[in-house]
Structures are given as structure tokens and as C-alpha cells.
């Protein structure tokens, strides 16, 4: 963690599926479970909707880590979206690791709508791992700053 600017906090982009993980994250909030505020959430219809481009583009835009989370196998609202996604993510993750991207920057998880606690622990784990790596450098083209991200 050399040359890390003071007070640096990792920025994690999370793609959560509408039916399970997004509801799971909602439950985390409702249950008042604490987790690091470093994630920004994008709600997607299904983890199968997450194109590998999204993940690579996020890395190119300077996000320090990406998390994609969907329903557990067998629970997909669209029957098999998460199973197709699983193969796609496996190949993507292996390939990114092979070209030298730190594996901890690209994360996948299954979080159901009832697993508020699991969502908090997954986010905590991802944030801690990315914090240990320091700011993303590889594959970054433009670094998008926090302050330029519009909050709704």
C-alpha cells in the first residue's frame, strides 16, 4: 500500500439482481446491519443481464473493485439466468487473473433476499480485500472521481 493518498477509500461497483441480492441489500438496511459505505449499487434484472463489458468497463473507469451478486442456483427468477452467468463469470475471472488483474478486484456472490447478514459480510470482505490491494492501476484509462458521480 505504498503511495496511497491519505484517507483513500476503495470504490466498489456492485451489480445486484433485482429479485434476490437487491432485496437482500435492502434487508441489510432494514435490519440496521452495518457495512462499509464504499459500494455503489446498480440494480439489474438478473445476474445474467450483467455483460462482461460492464465489469471490464468499470475497471477501465477506475473502480477499485466490482461485485456481481445474484440469486442462488435454482432460485433464479428467470430459471437459469444465474447459471449462464456463472459460466461467463468463471471464464472472465480466470482470464482477467491470467493477464495480471488482481483476482480480488472482481467478485461474485450469491445472496438471497433473506440474507441481509450475508450481504453485509460479502461487502465487508470485498472492501477489506480491495483496501489491502490499494487503488486500481491496471487497465485504468480514466479515473472517475467520487464527486463527479451523481447521487440520486
Amino acid at each position: 500500500m505504498k503511495n496511497v493518498e491519505k484517507g483513500w477509500e476503495p470504490r466498489i461497483l456492485a451489480f445486484l439482481c433485482n429479485w434476490c441480492s437487491y432485496a437482500g441489500a435492502d434487508l441489510t438496511g432494514i435490519s440496521r446491519i452495518q457495512y462499509p459505505p464504499n459500494v455503489r449499487i446498480v440494480r439489474v434484472p438478473c445476474s445474467g443481464r450483467v455483460n462482461p463489458y460492464y465489469i471490464i468497463k468499470a475497471l477501465q473507469c477506475g473502480w477499485d473493485g466490482v461485485l456481481v451478486s445474484g440469486c442462488h442456483p435454482g432460485d433464479c427468477h428467470y430459471i437459469s439466468g444465474n447459471l449462464v452467468a456463472r459460466r461467463r463469470f468463471a471464464v472472465l475471472k480466470d482470464l482477467l487473473e491470467y493477464v495480471g488483474i488482481e483476482p480480488a478486484r472482481v467478485n461474485f456472490s450469491w445472496v438471497s433476499a433473506a440474507e441481509g447478514g450475508k450481504f453485509a459480510s460479502v461487502v465487508t470482505e470485498v472492501v477489506n480485500e480491495v483496501k489491502a490491494l490499494g487503488p486500481a492501476k491496471r487497465l485504468v484509462k480514466v479515473r472517475i472521481e467520487w464527486k463527479n458521480l451523481k447521487n440520486r
Binding site: V84, I101, S109
Partner: protein, 316 residues
């Protein structure tokens, strides 16, 4: 070789005269030494143009996609496998293609010959059995063909087309002992940092000419992701990040489809060893899903498919 050429021409003539095909796609002698060029024959009298030797390196599967007429294609092991992939992906109906399989002992990599001769220009070259005879101004050399084969041919496990309708000549022995993933394993053994630097160095040479995309029979998308402008996914610049992403995503797109014909590496004007990426993709798919592309006409590509018991050790 002459015997093979003769029987290839006979087969082509028979297919054309019996009206089984409207067109034969094969190879003819190119205008430069060690070059062959794709040859399209639709008249029986033109079959004499067809040739076959170790300089026939083009991947003719490229010409099968989107063709309306019935074609007969001269196909090496790798070409035949790629035609099979295109058929399995419904890019061309099976009944429109007749695969004329030719057993192949490897094709010559011109770049290797050129680097051996350093700056000297080759004016004439002939392949005679196991030797390549190259002639230029004030020199004449006899080279052993096996030292100048393409890298992908050295580890090829399907020298005989696994799928074919007619076979020219006799089957050749397969290389069963070689490890096709040596290069990838060496890279995997490196530290992440080293690998990153290695790929940086290799891919920063890229001039984004897209020759690798143009030559690849699997790159048949009407609009490639790098050409898309709404939305503009990734930049078209030769900024290192954009270039790396182009190659990473192209590798992802051919996952479970690439058969390592080596055309992309051969065609690269700046000598990027694209096989390092393609071979890794092949290895991932083989290890995770036990799949090898181009061996069946029905099996869907693994990334369009799933099994409930697929490995998921990487998912939290």
C-alpha cells in the same frame, strides 16, 4: 504431395460435374514465394488451379459463413473444426457445405523463414517433401520444413479433420504425446505482476489494424463491439487500456469456439503472439467444462449452455 493434389482435383471435378456443389473453395499458388491464396472454382476446367502443400495456411472456414450456394471446402483439421463450429452455431446449414478433408502435417510459418534469412529477400521458394528450398539473390538454402512450422501446428492434436465428407489421401498419425498448453503453463507460473508486464509489452505493440478479427472465421458479428458507437463500449484508440480490453474481450468472445488454428498470430503485422490468450481460453473451457470446440456438429458452445453442477468455487 503431387498424388494428393491429383486426387484433390479429381474429387473437386467430380463434385462440380455431379452438381453436388456450385463452388469449390481451395488454394491456388500466390504471387509471392511461399504464399497461397484462396481459390474459388466454379467450372470443372479450372480445377487444375487447385493445389495442396504446406504453404496452404489460410483458414478457408472464413468463406463459408453467409454463403448462399452449395460449397465444397478444402479443409485441414483446424479448418474443418471451425466449419463444424459455424454449423453448430447455425451460421451455415450443414447441407450447404461439403468438407473436403485433407490430412495436414503442419503449415509453414513464413515469419519464421523470414527471420532465419534476416534481411535477405526470398525470390523463389518451393516445398519439396520435408525440405523447403529458398532462393534469393546470391543465396540458395535448403531448410528442414519441420523447423519452420507454425506454433499451433507443433501442438496440433487434430491433424486429420475430425469431421469431413470426403477425405483426400490417407490419414496421418496424430501427435498424441505433445502438451498443447506448455506456453500457457509457463505464463501461469509467473507472478501476477510479471504476467501483467508481459502482456503489457506484448499488446502495446498492437496497432489496432483488426487483421486478427478479419482473418478469424468466428468473428462473423455484423457489428463488432469495438465498432459500436451507441453505446461506445470501449475506445478505438491505441491507448494501452483500450488495446488490452480489445484483446481480452475478443478472447472472451471466442471462448469455447476457438480451435487454435493460429491464423490470428500468423496474420499479425507486429508479431503479437495472440495464441497466449487464445490457448488460455481453450484451457479454461477444457478444465472447467471438459469441452473442446469443433468436434461435433450439434453441441452448443459451452458459454451458451450450463449445467447445474458447474464449478463455482470462485463465488462467495
Amino acid at each position: 504431395m503431387e498424388k494428393l493434389e491429383k486426387s484433390l482435383r479429381e474429387i473437386a471435378e467430380k463434385l462440380l460435374s455431379e452438381k453436388k456443389v456450385d463452388l469449390i473453395i481451395g488454394y491456388e499458388r500466390g504471387t509471392r514465394p511461399l504464399r497461397t491464396t484462396p481459390c474459388f472454382v466454379n467450372k470443372t476446367e479450372d480445377v487444375q488451379k487447385l493445389i495442396w502443400d504446406s504453404s496452404c495456411d489460410n483458414n478457408l472456414a472464413k468463406y463459408v459463413v453467409d454463403r448462399k450456394e452449395k460449397v465444397g471446402v478444402v479443409a485441414k483439421g483446424c479448418d474443418a473444426r471451425l466449419i463444424a463450429v459455424c454449423i453448430a452455431e447455425n451460421q451455415v446449414p450443414k447441407e450447404n457445405v461439403i468438407i473436403i478433408g485433407v490430412p495436414c502435417l503442419g503449415v509453414v510459418d513464413r515469419k519464421k523463414v523470414e527471420s532465419k534469412l534476416e534481411e535477405k529477400e526470398i525470390l523463389e521458394a518451393t516445398i519439396e517433401g520435408e525440405k523447403i528450398k529458398v532462393k534469393g539473390e546470391e543465396f540458395e538454402l535448403l531448410l528442414a520444413k519441420n523447423d519452420f512450422l507454425c506454433d499451433s501446428c507443433l501442438t496440433c492434436k487434430h491433424r486429420n479433420p475430425p469431421i469431413q465428407d470426403v477425405l483426400v489421401g490417407e490419414e496421418v498419425p496424430e501427435l498424441t504425446e505433445v502438451n498443447e498448453f506448455t506456453e500457457v503453463e509457463n505464463l501461469e507460473a509467473m507472478a501476477a505482476e510479471e504476467r501483467w508486464n508481459h502482456f503489457n509489452g506484448e499488446l502495446s505493440k498492437c496497432i489496432r489494424c483488426y487483421a486478427c478479427r478479419s482473418v478469424c472465421p468466428l468473428c462473423y458479428c455484423k457489428t463488432c463491439f469495438v465498432d459500436q458507437s451507441i453505446p461506445t463500449w470501449f475506445g478505438k484508440t491505441n491507448d494501452l487500456s483500450d488495446t488490452m480490453i480489445y484483446h481480452i474481450v475478443r478472447a472472451l468472445h471466442v471462448a469455447g469456439r476457438c480451435v487454435d488454428c493460429g491464423a490470428c498470430s500468423r496474420v499479425c503485422p507486429v508479431n503479437i503472439n495472440l495464441r497466449e490468450l487464445m490457448k488460455k481460453i481453450e484451457k479454461i473451457v477444457k478444465e472447467r467444462y471438459n469441452f473442446k470446440a469443433g468436434l461435433s456438429l450439434e453441441e452448443a458452445p459451452p458459454l451458451g449452455d450450463f449445467k447445474s453442477e458447474d464449478p463455482q468455487e470462485f463465488i462467495k
